[in-house]
Symmetry: C2
Subunit: 444 residues, 2 copies
């Protein structure tokens, strides 16, 4: 383990902050280090330049009539600031009490390194692999993977594979093997309401004109009914009901209501009637207002009817909704409900379809066996409420499903100071990789 | 006229900006100049120190069995910035095309000076006045008159009078004599909604908890019904209906719907059904949201469920509503309608009761005669939608009504760059003062 940890620490020492132009050479050096690591374990490797940071591609010697597994990860990291909140320098990895602390320890260097070292171990043990392995490790995940889809499209023939494996998500609890088989999609819009040409004195003119904030509040209040259901006509029609096994499986997860109250600090767990919180987070759509602004926001009182007000909305989508249809439904609903006396502009943002794969498919069952074998506990079968657009790219461009085998814990502090990753999870990841490739190999 | 204009220009040259500590000596010098002006026309005058800027008090020699008229005004002005938008320096008064341009020209130096010069002319002509005259000219109106109520209370015996005259409001149009006999009251509250302990990822946690912005929007949407009526139970119960003559008088004012659309730049005039815009502005209560904020307000999208959101509300009140009861009704209504899963804090701000006086009282009719005589046109009898707390202080402390005889035009740019006041209005004001005092004198 010491030699493996030493390699991870070398990987973690690169300040490969993709968003920071001053780190460009560090990102590049980190990619080069990874390229050399792939070569050193006997894989064929290439550095693929992009308009941004390079994609490192590696593959084992292709053997016909074997399944091909694509393992995706990223070697770029989030910025480390605020630096003064770190207990040790972010790019000087530290090991204490079995916990590795460094920027990128969990997200994603620790997790992708576990896969690389798993493949290295298999190759070292037998000189061959049970499956064909492709690695795609990009340097731009933290800035939205702007060049990944083009890379996948351009190299689709070389990247032909049967399944994608990603360890860039969380385990639901310490030691709980977790298979994530569904993600929500997303639609984003901004609603801008304008009324009078300028801010008006609300004493002098109050009563003459529609107040844009009042109009916006009334418009936003039409998005849900009084019970908390989304009230946009047709919005939920395409939603595929949860399966019984999902409800049952989720009901016994350690992420229970008490834990959710603790994590969120909310006064209560509230939402669409008829569903439990995890069901609402993973298998039901939402309509959230992420921001609102208008008029005077300073201290005290300023008596204005503001010229305008705005709200930023995102809605999360579940299988079989599509982002295109959902956005169209919301826009139509808002336009139909604009109060008199104001004008409304709607600006569309990014979008992504929901994703789901069958965890009881052949690959899903292989993953379950590998997880159980590695952690010696039943697998938590979950969906996630967030969106991972890369997964949709693999589906759309390469036509393959993705298995998400998270190795980070919920308190890994990804994107925050003192990001950390337990050595136990790193070690488990190395074993999981080997078990998974063997299980997939046995499927043939 | 030249000599009178010269005096106004002297008055205007003081940068008597009450809110600016660096102008403290200028404010003081301006008050001293005024004190000397009162002395020079033969009035008994005093400079009354306050914890802030002095009140200048002046009175004619009291004659028994005569009505006593208190004329209120202020010698402080608003700051002049942004200076680069002025076409001439704000404290170097300029006369061009019959328009005086300077900070304070309309608000309030030009208007109060017209009254002083009117009294001077009466005294110069006959050595006596038709009524007893008191002047109270304060130096803190632009910062909310923090010391005026204490001054009135302390000097209530000396200030005993029959009616208060204020020219610190607007004429409804050029050459249209205007008597303002009603003002709306005000209540202010801020509503703060809190949900989760921190901003949450809206993908991961969306569906588990109530969104504070959604809750706030729903709460605010309960303030009105779908037709635009205030929906707070009991809120409008105390409202005194307009009288027929008011509806008829207002219907023929030059401030018509076309003009209101032009002034406000709003797409439409919208409000409570069954009332015309001026009726809604002057004789109906309102419930305005002056500001709202919560969550992410920057460019693009940030997928959070915010910790909190807030809205700033003011409501305008009309006779016989009281601010105390109205605030209590709104607070009770909001508390009853708090959506589940959030906590709401309500912070009360300042308040003021509505004001109304009978324009057909003896004093009201005297003012109408003076206005008609001076301007040779029928008087516009209006209320104002805003609140002037001083008027309520005169009512509460001295027990007298106030007649508001505005001399500034709607486009006088009070508080803005290039504040202006027509010489014609200044001159009319001097005549109006004399006519008014004579009319009130005849009432005895």
């Amino acid at each position: 383990m010491d030699a493996q940890l030493a390699q991870l620490f070398d990987f973690l020492r690169f300040p490969s902050i993709s968003t920071d132009p001053s780190c460009r050479d560090d990102v590049s050096a980190c990619g080069q280090w990874l390229y050399e690591k792939f070569l050193s374990i006997g894989l064929n490797a290439q550095v693929h330049g992009t308009p941004g940071h390079p994609v490192i591609f590696a593959r084992s010697r292709p053997v016909p009539n074997r399944a091909t597994v694509l393992i995706y990860g990223h070697y770029d990291v989030q910025p480390a600031d605020p630096l003064d909140l770190w207990t040790s320098p972010p790019f000087e990895p530290r090991l204490a009490d079995g916990i590795i602390t460094a920027r990128g320890a969990a997200d994603n260097k620790g997790q992708i390194m576990a896969h690389i070292l798993g493949v290295e171990a298999l190759l070292a043990a037998g000189g061959d692999l049970p499956v064909n392995v492709l690695f795609v490790v990009e340097g731009e995940e933290e800035i939205g993977s702007p060049n990944l889809a083009a890379f996948l499209t351009e190299h689709a023939a070389e990247l032909k594979c049967d399944v994608v494996i990603i360890s860039d998500s969380t385990m639901i609890g310490p030691g709980v093997p977790t298979l994530t088989y569904g993600l929500r999609g997303i639609g984003c819009i901004e609603v801008r309401v304008t009324g009078p040409a300028i801010d008006l004195h609300s004493g002098i003119y109050g009563g003459a004109v529609q107040n844009p904030i009042t109009a916006l509040a009334r418009l936003l209040s039409t998005l849900h009914d009084s019970a908390g259901r989304i009230a946009v006509p047709g919005f939920c029609d395409a939603v595929e009901p949860m399966l019984d096994w999902e409800r049952n499986a989720w009901a016994s997860l350690p992420l229970n209501e008490a834990r959710l109250l603790e994590i969120t600090g909310a006064p209560a767990l509230v939402g669409e009637p008829g569903y439990r919180p995890l069901e609402r987070m993973w298998a039901r759509p939402t309509m959230e207002i992420n921001g609102i602004g208008g008029g005077y926001q300073g201290e005290g009182t300023k008596t204005v009817i503001p010229h305008s007000a705005f709200a930023k909305l995102t809605f999360r989508l579940v299988p079989r909704q599509t982002a295109a249809e959902a956005i169209a439904q919301v826009v139509e609903h808002l336009r139909k409900n604009v109060p008199r006396g104001v004008q409304v502009e709607i600006i569309e943002g990014h979008r992504g379809d929901p994703y789901i794969t069958d965890p009881y498919s052949g690959f899903g069952k292989a993953a379950q066996r590998a997880l159980t074998g590695t952690f010696q506990r039943p697998v938590a079968m979950i969906r996630e409420g967030g969106s991972i657009p890369i997964v949709q790219s693999f589906k759309d461009i390469l036509g393959v499903d993705t298995l998400l085998l998270g190795l980070a814990l919920p308190d890994c502090r990804a994107h925050s100071p003192n990001e950390n990753f337990p050595v136990a999870n790193f070690e488990a990841g190395i074993h999981l990789n080997q078990a998974l490739l063997k299980e997939i190999g046995k499927m043939q």
